[in-house]
Symmetry: C2
Subunit: 132 residues, 2 copies
DNA sequence: CGATCTTTGACAACCGTTCTCAACAGGCGT
DNA sequence: ACGCCTGTTGAGAACGGTTGTCAAAGATCG
């Protein structure tokens, strides 16, 4: 149950530190492979899962169901505005929304409330390049 | 390109009309099979997809990535408070949240904004039965 | 250095979903 | 009613992301 610091784990963490956007496990795997830091795909998944469990990275689901990972600046609860084309991310929070969510849920007699609030859009750069 | 009214499609729509909660394609398939209305799994998926495209049903992703379907009372934009154990659903809306979402996204220069806002919890009934 | 015990990686297994394609059946014209 | 035309069905294969398997590799401690 230790948590040994292996070359592979270090590589994953470093890659995440350098990338500001949400990336899939497979994209990260490809990135690592491209830079010579060969790491097995299963290992990338395991590392990401461990990091997510430790709240070291945020996870969210793309529209096609793929999981995307990102090392966020703040560890406190927050949400994201993500470019669906390039993954560019802006961290956002909305105290008003938080309050609204828990109030609504409680009013219906629900417990253990959790909310999913994510914003998707196309960032200025991607819009420009898509327009040619 | 017609859109023929087949026994199978009718069966899927009827099942959805009778079930108030979010259900997966596989659960619906099982339900249909159980009541004697034998329909192929692929057909259930196709019917649900067609209904979703026509905005006849709402789709959302469970935490494990499975798609859940529900015939909602209103066709206008709204969100849901869903029991993660039984699928019980309450339709909710929050004009405040809508406004907040589009304002935040626009302020960052994002376009084609879309938002995912879903509330998950444990409903009173499930809490009671879980506590034995 | 050696023993121990977690971690790794190639590959198989999984699971939800979609594709394939021959058999089938609405629905329209006659 | 009858048939034809074409969209639909269903069993199973294929797919894509993710997780499990297990022998080999390597990190940590004495």
């Amino acid at each position: 149950m230790a948590a040994r610091m292996t070359r592979q784990r270090t590589a994953v963490v470093e890659a995440l530190d350098e990338i500001a956007d949400f990336r899939s496990a497979q994209q990260l795997h490809e990135t690592l492979r491209a830079r010579g830091e060969s790491v097995g795909l299963a290992t990338v998944y395991r590392a990401l899962q461990a990091l997510a469990d430790a709240s070291e990275v945020d996870v969210l689901r793309a529209e096609d169901g793929e999981s995307l990972y990102r090392r966020c600046a703040r560890r406190e609860h927050h949400h994201h505005l993500v470019c669906r084309m390039c993954g560019r991310t802006v961290e956002i929070d909305g105290p008003t929304v938080e309050a609204w969510a828990s109030k609504v849920a409680a009013a219906q007699g629900f417990d253990d409330i959790e909310h999913t609030i994510e914003l998707w859009g196309t960032c200025a750069d991607c819009r420009a390049s898509a327009a040619r």
